[in-house]
């Protein structure tokens, strides 16, 4: 009884031990024949020579895994970038909007004031702008500003904003007064002009 249980429990171990014992015993028996011993070494050598093949197989597998990993990462990346863009779009839009709306407003004010003044009936024009010089000045300002299209104005403003940002980022020389852009120049010109015409009452700032 005991023997059979032991056999059952340890049969695997026993088999292994037996194999080992067999191999050692056969080894010793083979040891008697040097030729057999050398063949034994050859099989070991073969195992060693097999190793590079195994490596090649694993690197193939690695490549396969790597490809699959990249494939799934790409799938995820595509969805992620869309979701990320959606998540930050409103914030970015609001930033851009708030950065440009005042400049646009000032530029629009220049357009509106000069256009409306230029199209006033002659008799009234003389009451609003008392001298010929003033009226000529206005006409010139009107003509130069109305020749600038919205896309051009937008481009001028965009270039200005980008250059301002670059200066801020690189932290080099502080922006000079002339870097305010073409539109800022016209706005200043109009402000100076209006100051000399007491009849014109404009509110240059936006009410909060």
């Amino acid at each position: 009884m005991m023997g059979t249980i032991a056999d059952e429990l340890y049969s695997e171990t026993l088999k292994l031990v037996n194999v080992k014992l067999d191999s050692t015993s056969s080894g010793t028996s083979h040891g008697k024949h040097p030729d057999d011993g050398s063949t034994d070494e050859c099989t070991h050598d073969n195992d060693l020579w097999d190793a590079p093949d195994d490596l090649a197989e694993t690197s193939d597998l690695d490549r396969e895994w790597k490809n699959r990993r990249e494939e799934f990462q790409t799938i995820g990346y595509r969805d992620g970038i869309i979701a990320g863009k959606e998540a930050s779009a409103q914030e970015g839009f609001n930033h851009g909007f708030k950065e440009s709306v005042n400049a646009g407003y000032q530029w629009g004010l220049v357009r509106g004031v000069t256009s409306a003044l230029a199209f006033l009936p002659d008799g009234l024009k003389e009451k609003v702008m008392e001298t010929d010089i003033k009226r000529a000045q206005l006409q010139k300002l009107y003509e130069s500003t109305s020749s600038i299209s919205t896309p051009d104005a937008l481009k001028s403003f965009h270039d200005y904003i980008v250059s301002k940002k670059t200066v801020e980022n690189t932290n080099t020389t502080p922006s000079s007064p002339t870097s305010e852009g073409l539109l800022g120049k016209y706005y200043k010109e109009l402000s100076a002009f209006v100051k000399e015409c007491p009849a014109i009452n404009i509110q240059p700032t936006i009410d909060p």
């Binding site: 699959r68 990993r69 799934f72 990462q73 799938i75 995820g76 990346y77 595509r78 969805d79 992620g80 970038i81 869309i82 990320g84 863009k85 959606e86 998540a87 930050s88 779009a89 914030e91 970015g92 839009f93 609001n94 930033h95 851009g96 909007f97 708030k98 950065e99 440009s100 709306v101 005042n102 646009g104 407003y105 000032q106 530029w107 629009g108 004010l109 357009r111 509106g112 004031v113 256009s115 409306a116 199209f119 009936p121 009234l124 609003v128 600038i148 299209s149 919205t150 896309p151 104005a153 937008l154 965009h158 904003i161 009849a199 014109i200 009452n201 404009i202 509110q203 009410d207 909060p208």
Partner: protein
């Protein structure tokens, strides 16, 4: 056993998809913000320009009325007053306010009405006639 192996490979797929997603999301946040910033920059400038244009016109008309009240008919003066109120109500610093579009439409209508009555053509190259057109930098 086979099911477990399948599950774990699915989990690994999910993991790699998630890995890519997180990376994409991060990049998307940055690029999306920048792209939208450019769009916002354009939109804000256009909206500001149009509103400033109306404000400039209204200010000059008001200055003219102060000198010569009988210059404009009561109807035109009422329209100018309406425009002034609309400009004051415009949510210029809140691009997400949905009332903006309606106010702008009303402003355009009033402005056109005044221009027709006065017999003047007050607009500029790029003045938004109906729908806004996009511009590439």
């Amino acid at each position: 056993m086979g099911e477990d192996m399948f599950d774990s490979s699915v989990n690994l797929e999910q993991f790699h998809i998630k890995e890519g997603y997180d990376l994409g999301y991060k990049d998307g946040l940055v690029s999306g913000k920048d792209e939208a910033w450019q769009v916002g920059l354009q939109h804000g400038f256009r909206v500001g320009e149009e509103l400033g244009f109306y404000k400039g016109c209204v200010d000059i008309w008001d200055s003219a009325i102060a000198i010569q009240p009988e210059l404009f008919s009561p109807r035109v003066r009422k329209s100018i007053q309406t425009m002034e109120n609309l400009i004051g109500r415009y949510p210029l610093m809140d691009p997400e306010d949905e009332s903006a579009q309606d106010i702008m439409e009303s402003l355009r209508l009033q402005f056109k009405r005044i221009c027709v009555t006065l017999g003047v053509k007050l607009d500029y190259i790029g003045y938004p006639m109906s729908s806004s057109q996009d511009v590439a930098f």
